[in-house]
Subunit: 286 residues, 2 copies
Amino acid sequence: MPIDAEKLLNWPFDDLEHSYQARDTILYALGAGCGSDPLDEGDLRYVYEDGLVALPSMAVVLGYPGFWLKEQNTGVDWQRLLHGEQGMVLHRPLPVSGTVIGRTKVTGLVDKGEGKGALLYSKRDVFDKASGDLLATLTSTSFLRGDGGFGGASGPARAFHPIPPRAADASLDLPTLPQAALIYRLSGDYNPLHADPKVAAAAGFPRPILHGLCTYAVACRAVLRLACVNEAHRLKAMEVRFSAPVFPGETIRTEIWRDGAELAFRCWAVERNVKVLDNGRAQIAG
Amino acid sequence: MPIDAEKLLNWPFDDLEHSYQARDTILYALGAGCGSDPLDEGDLRYVYEDGLVALPSMAVVLGYPGFWLKEQNTGVDWQRLLHGEQGMVLHRPLPVSGTVIGRTKVTGLVDKGEGKGALLYSKRDVFDKASGDLLATLTSTSFLRGDGGFGGASGPARAFHPIPPRAADASLDLPTLPQAALIYRLSGDYNPLHADPKVAAAAGFPRPILHGLCTYAVACRAVLRLACVNEAHRLKAMEVRFSAPVFPGETIRTEIWRDGAELAFRCWAVERNVKVLDNGRAQIAG
């Protein structure tokens, strides 16, 4: 049965209230691989309660409504769904603890045609509950591989941010831990694909894969170091396209291209020479 | 001013209620280094909610009253205190989530003499709140280096469990992560000595040291693998003496000597060839 575009576009999300502690903020950063050099005080700020700063990419786990396309009766063939793109705009530095409200809505649905899948765009605003301030806006694209040909419009699809046709201006290799996915999932995405070898095998992978959003967090760390003197508040926005999974334990190489306050970037799984994030764009404050 | 032995021996601990979730049980095991091989299903049981088992050494963080010798007005020179010994007796398998009651008391105080320090023995019973069942009994020895010569009895001091004068029957090397202490401290011991290079330097260490109880957890993993077919419920008791600190990132070698249902064991920091746990004893069920 084809998906019901009208129903999906008007999906009635409840506001989601999410409280978190400094311990959760630290755990998120540890899942992103912070602290791998105990003498590197640049990373200590993300993992130590004295002077704690939230890693900006933590916005993607705040006020998260869960895997609603699976958990609710959406009609989507969720087993063939892939996380296609992720973006964030940071309006304010993230509190290291507090209560936030996540407000999600579907913003678009594109029919790529029978057998070619569909694109579902969604957006989540995250507010500080106490002040009402808008903290961050998250944008996400789900690639519904099994749901093309529902009779919808074939556009407009988001344009990919171009990577300049020249050598990168800078790059940074960051290791991931063999247990990175096991740590990262404690920030809220308990999909067994990232922990259980049997589930991973059933999905066609030789072992559990890293969360795309964990790779996103590693890329965020690299962008902060390469372009923000590792000062979290200078990162204003960051968006990527997921092009291939990372296996926990691999090294992630982030390449950046500078263009004023904007960066293009992409990431590679070094050991396999596979591009894992592509068409990245980041905005940096002066 | 010398410590007041009568006051310490009768320290009025309140019962401590402690609730924890499966996420905390997983986080404890990750702090102990479980999950370093994502295809090793032997460790998966400690870090994955489907079929989750609590690592037995988690008993040491349940119902823990905190660093009361520092936090309360005990008169102890806490800056010179060392954790000398730790033991546990497991009466029942630990629940993977629940609420426990910790009931602590001081059980002995030995005066080693002026300039030689004192030994403070304490015991904590941990009960399941819902059933009232006794789950575990923890014993701990604090070496109060600055508090000898208070006029107390010079005994009885606990005897050290002997290590047989022959080659070990088996041994196992387990790696620790450079960020092991940063992960482990999220289980409740936030002493900055384990995170902050400045605090570590002030204490005379070139970098933050691993929690002794994290080393204890790694030893527990090794004992389970070497003597219990990695079946947590078979470990009934385990006690050690702390002989030197481990630096996060070092490999811990555990050597065991079998004697029926009892084991002797000790641990080394392999890279420095330093004995870190000594006089270990474990009891194993058949």
